[in-house]
């Protein structure tokens, strides 16, 4: 019998965190129909002051504050799989650890700006708009760690030259595609309307769908890799 090392418990937190993220996303009134950057300061203030919106903004962001770091254990499991790859150095596993620290912190910062905007909606509309801008720009444009995570993972998989690689090669291709889909969001500061704006097709819908898809796909391939690893291990003495 294999000892209970808790990895499967960590793995099963993934669907739980995924459902919570989706629920918080749907609960936040600024996402379902994403807020436009063209809204005036008065319109932004009115959005936060709306008695229908305010509790939903607060509750969804409190939930997201709880679970923003929820995927770090999954990244840690990916780190363990990278360590099983046929590499000469631990550089890729270290790099994913660095991404695991950076990425969620960005989401947390955006979360703090949204919650601060909602804390005193009676504030001067210009101030509410400033916090709202900080939240959206942080949330949308700071894709660096997510892009790096996918690129590093892809590189690690490409360089995993062994009889049976830890992850199949298509996972590397998939990660590169995801990295490319994240790039347009970095440019939200340049567009108030259209696909690059923070409520636009590329910066909002495609990027967030790519994040969602990455979580689902990586969850499945990670589960398979772990299952294979455990099946392969010979029973202990």
């Amino acid at each position: 019998m294999r000892r209970a090392d808790g990895e499967l418990i960590l793995l099963w937190t993934l669907p739980v965190v995924g459902v919570v993220w989706l629920a918080a996303f749907l609960l936040f009134p600024g996402f379902v129909r994403p807020m436009s950057p063209t809204m005036s300061a008065e319109e932004v203030a009115a959005f936060y002051r709306d008695p229908e919106n305010l509790p939903r903004i607060r509750y969804s962001m409190i939930v997201f504050n709880w679970f923003a770091v929820g995927l770090i254990p999954i990244l840690a499991l990916i780190v363990l799989q990278i360590r099983r790859m046929a590499h000469r150095t631990p550089i890729f596993s270290y790099a994913i650890i660095a991404c695991a620290a950076g990425g969620p912190t960005i989401f947390l910062m955006a979360n703090l700006f949204w919650l601060t905007a909602a804390f005193r909606p009676e504030r001067d509309p210009q101030h509410i708009q400033l916090f709202n801008d900080l939240a959206w720009v942080t949330f949308s444009s700071q894709v660096g760690f997510l892009v790096a995570q996918s690129v590093i993972l892809a590189l690690a998989i490409y360089l995993d030259r062994q009889q049976r690689p830890v992850f199949p090669r298509w996972v590397a291709h998939f990660n590169l595609v995801v990295a490319v889909l994240m790039l347009p969001a970095a440019f939200v500061g340049l567009a108030m309307e259209g696909p690059f704006a923070w409520d636009g097709l590329l910066s909002f819908w495609v990027r967030n769908a790519a994040i969602g898809l990455w979580i689902v796909v990586m969850g499945v391939v990670l589960a398979r890799a772990i299952a294979w690893e455990r099946a392969e291990e010979t029973p202990g003495p």
Partner: protein, 254 residues
Amino acid sequence: MTHHDDKRELWIGWWTLVVFYNLYGLLFFVIARTQPPPSPSLDAAAIAEWFDARRYGLLYGYAIVSIVGGATAIMNAMLACSIRRMSVSRAFAYSYLVIYALATLPGMLIMGVACTVGAMRPDRDPALLHWLYDFAFLSFEGTMGVFLIGSLVWMAAVLLDRNGVFPKWFGYLNLCNALTEVVVAPAWIFKRGVFAWDGAIAWWINMAVFVTYTTVFLTLLRRMIEREDFGTGPLPALATGRARELAGTPGAVR
């Protein structure tokens, strides 16, 4: 597998460092034009003009910064690997990795967010632009502890190392870098003069040390990779030509 292939992972890390630092200079000095920094003593109207004068530079420049910022992950991993090659505890490598992973945010990305938000609405109340300006430069120049402690961790590792991964004098150069983070502290207090964030001490001397330090460690890292034998003992001296090809490549170390 050839000898060269063995070091591919390390070269990926090294080239990422080189490309990043060149891009970093280009983005901050030429495209966004936020370096050398403007004065902290500007009034709100002058700051509104400052944002206006470089609007697209800020927006394009920091958009690219937000993408390449992620490259710091592989760079810090590379540096952590170099510490791993030393005879010191792995705690040094892990400390360095975590400290510099979180340093990217206050040390670079927050400035990008503040400048982007400032530049995207030129009609924003100048008082708020003033705050964004302060937030941008103070976070960038005034983020001290991560680089202070990070450099000291690296210094201690280099000085204690018996594998000769880096020369001992590089340990003391780390101390110089750490000291720049000490003397920049008055930038949080003074709005004019040598100690202000655009002053001779807080900016010019510090930038000179930083550029020297970065150039030196890139050179030393390159030499380290060339000397790498994937062992755990002292790193061999730089071999040349045929001798290097003939050198054995012992098994990977974890």
